[in-house]
């Protein structure tokens, strides 16, 4: 062997130090690389910063679960004064927009075509029924069952109007010894925005944590850079942590941004502490990132990864977390499934921290559940990501 060869063999020396299982400098190099990529990739910025703002605005303004100005018909078949005063009571509420009619056929067509959500019939014999001592219905309420929530609201509210009207007629005479005066805690105005905006933060975090992570790891497989990195002494643990740290930071920044928007733009109070909010978010990112990592380890393909992230991350967070639809109202089997969705714990914690305050008795079990799901995801992801190309 000539001398050059020996020199090259000696060149392996710096590598010897590097053969440890975990090396801080390699990790820093990987984190640096990932951060530079994230900053330079316009789609990352779009997903991490533009999308949350759009979503928050959507949930704050466009989506409203509050029922206001529901269009109904009021069919006045009776010419009596009392009947007319009841019709006027319907017209006078701020929650209903009334289309008056004399014949129920006029409004029935409009319910079919969707122009009205239902109608109330004040029958011809209204005065006789009112005077009668027999417990028989005063009015008939017909609702559009294809929109169950609104239908419920219309029928309940119509009953309320009739009762209030009845109470008003016998004014002066106390009709009941006990008077109910409802108070809504935490969201006194019952504005859905206040519950939706904190929930939307959970959706944003799912997108960043799961979708973005799944995409960026899959991209490395697609572009062949993963193969190159795997052929260096870097360990799987370094590669995975190097991937996650920047997106963890990105997720936290997005949380802070969303919280600031919620408080300063949408007037959602933050009654709990910032520390609690950040702790909750940080712990939620464990299952979110873990899920993203698992998806990308299984698919290695950006298109599939984004589809799976959509169906296993985004949609369940959207539908099954109690963000839009109350979990208690779901059928029992579905309710059971919601326990597996990390966003369920996060949404309820977020609503508590924003609207109620630091209630650690609520947070602690939620934190434990999120951490447990996260550890589960990571354990599988680590097992599925080998330090080679076998799959």
């Amino acid at each position: 062997m000539n001398s050059e060869t020996l020199e090259i063999r000696a060149g392996a020396a710096p590598g010897e130090r590097a053969s440890h299982n975990f090396d801080g400098r390699r990790l820093i190099a990987l984190v640096r690389k990932e951060s530079l990529q994230a900053i330079r990739d316009p789609s990352t910025i779009l997903i991490a910063f533009v999308l949350p703002v759009v979503l928050l605005f959507l949930f704050a303004y466009a989506v409203s679960l509050d029922v206001r100005e529901v269009r109904i018909g009021v069919v006045l078949e009776s010419d009596g004064v009392t009947a007319q005063s009841l019709a006027a009571a319907f017209a006078g509420t701020r929650y209903l927009k009334v289309t008056p009619a004399r014949d129920r056929r006029e409004v029935a067509d409009q319910v079919v075509s969707g122009k009205l959500r239902g109608f109330v019939v004040i029958p011809q014999d209204f005065e006789r029924r009112l005077a009668s001592q027999l417990p028989q219905p005063l009015v008939q309420v017909i609702t559009d069952g294809s929109q169950p929530n609104t239908a419920n609201f219309v029928s309940n509210y119509a009953q309320g109007v009739v009762q209030t009207w009845g109470a008003g007629r016998s004014a002066g005479v106390p009709t009941a010894a006990i008077q109910l005066e409802p108070r809504f805690w935490f969201n006194a105005e019952l504005e859905s925005r206040r519950a939706l905006v904190p929930g939307a933060i959970a959706i944003v975090m799912t997108i960043i944590g799961t979708m973005l992570t799944a995409l960026v790891v899959a991209r490395e497989w697609e572009r062949g850079t993963m193969e190159a990195v795997l052929s260096t002494p870097a360990s799987v643990l370094e590669i995975l942590i190097g991937k996650l740290l920047p997106y963890f930071a990105l997720g936290m920044i997005a949380t802070l941004g969303s919280a600031a928007l919620a408080v300063f733009v949408f007037d959602v109070p933050l009654r709990g502490s910032l520390l609690a909010l950040l702790t909750l978010s940080a712990v939620f990112l464990i299952p979110a990132l873990g899920q993203g990592l698992l998806i990308s380890a299984l698919t290695k393909n950006q298109f599939l990864a984004s589809q799976i992230a959509l169906f296993s991350g985004f949609l369940p967070s959207f539908l099954l977390s109690g963000f839009l639809f109350e979990i208690d109202a779901m059928p029992v089997p579905i309710q059971t499934i919601t326990f597996l969705i990390p966003a369920r714990y996060f949404v309820s914690s977020l609503q508590t921290v924003f609207l109620a305050g630091d209630v650690w008795s609520v947070f602690l079990p939620n934190l434990a559940a999120m951490a447990a799901i996260g550890v589960f995801f990571f354990a599988i992801a680590k097992r599925k990501t080998l330090k080679n190309l076998e799959s």
Binding site: N2, I8, K33, G224, E227, T232, P233, N388
Partner: protein, 595 residues
Amino acid sequence: MSTHPTTDGGGTQDQDVAVVVESVVKHFGEVEALRGFSADIRYGRLTGLVGPDGAGKTTLMRIMTGLLVPNGGRVTLAGFDVVEDNDAIHIASGYMPQRFGLYEDLSVMENMRLYAQLRGMDADQNTDIFRSLLDFTRLGPFTTRLAGKLSGGMKQKLGLACALMAKPRVLLLDEPSVGVDPVSRQDLWRMVQALTDDGMAVVWSTAYLDEAERCESVLLLNEGKLEFDGPPQELTDRIKQRSFRLTGVSDERRAVLSQALDLGTVGDGVIQGDAVRVVLRADAGRAEIGALADEVGAILEPVQPRFEDAFIDLLGGGPGGTSALAERMHAVELDSDIAVSCRDLTKCFGDFTATDKVSFEVQKGEIFGLLGPNGAGKSTTFKMLCGLLKPTEGEAHVVGHDLRRATGAAKSQLGYMAQKFSLYGLLSVRQNLEFSAGVYGLEGASKSQRIDEMIETFELQQYLSTSPDSLPLGYKQRLALACALMHRPPVLFLDEPTSGVDPITRREFWTHINGLVRKGVTVMVTTHFMDEAEYCDRVAMMYRARLIALDTPDALKRVSRSDAHPDPTMEDAFIHLVESADLDDEARANAKVAA
């Protein structure tokens, strides 16, 4: 664990041996990628890992670099077992995967620093190593440029620089020359030469058989088996005095090739410019080919055997010379002698000009080749000519139809075979045929008759209900050709028709094309196999969006003849043309500065 393998890690090994492969077996499900062979790779040498796509080259590369685990046998690299001492493998070896493994969002310097740090090198303390690597790869002026903005050749050099960090003892390059123009490829050979002179073991995998001749030692793989292990010269020596050239047949060369290939004593034959090149079978004697030469009035002369000749011979020779497809085609009649023409054809994407004022005319019954490095604009030009892209300026005609106005009429006159065959994997072979017949407007009896004809010609009966994805490569190509020819177009466009195809399938393909051309079909083809350009009647060379040369292959080669290259190949001609184009550009730039 000791990290000094040569003294105590490897045990019985020879000091010179860098990689030991011992009856290695690897399968992916049903597919056997490596079928159990042994070989040694030595330090201080360039070893070519040669074979067609799917031969098992990448699988072996990945096993050597510790990224795949063999199912059987054992591989050691620098004395370390690739499975048991996996960590040590990553230090002892430098690996450049296909597509170079670069981060496109990172700059040249950032990519280099990343790989340096991953390989345990402190970038700040090793500025001299960085400087020497930048000098070596001539990337010095581009350190801040993003890797995604580099040309193919520069990416390849950066990939090499990253793989060379921390001085590996074994350098593994997986298809480093794919997507790289011949000029950059030349540069890479120079760099690799310097590395092996320093004692490094370099493994270079390639599907280009002409590259094998430049390696000191070759491992020739085919279908997972090792067909040959040794210096390439040794293989070509086996077919000494069996390679011949028939010259003086220029007008009749396709007919002569076809006749020659049908002779029992001829194992292989290709067209080389104006000549026909044949390889005789072992112990065949030159009587038959001599008789043919006399008959057609050709001069028969012996030539140096090439590595590809030997490879085909090793596999038992190429296909015969008669194309069943062409036999069935009717002779093409056209009103004019010009099948395809374009004038000042220009395409801009934003402020980037992909094709810049390209003009040429293609005669009826001609094979016209478009050659050029990736990004030279040949695909853009090609797509405008078959009506897939609208030109920004200039005009183009196919069989007299203006492509800007009568795109539909022009399209019905051409058959198009896209890269990678573009067949529908979810449809069966028959459904693919029916779809292409339908899409070209064939109906009823003529449709089913044409489909049956194609099935018979290409012998597709046994595969009719299978998916094209599971077809053998050769049949896949036949099917793609059948689909493109269903409506008997007078002009056929072939976009990189033979990339990723083994040499025997390529020969079969050219037999069909030659047959079609003899019936008067005009063929437009892009290719990056330089030797395939020899099949063309005329070749247009594109470089930086411009047409830098247009002539017959022989004339192009003649221009580049020099003392250093007395018998230049197409590749030499290409390098020469590109370099003179660069010099012209420089001179013009200097003149501008001077003025």
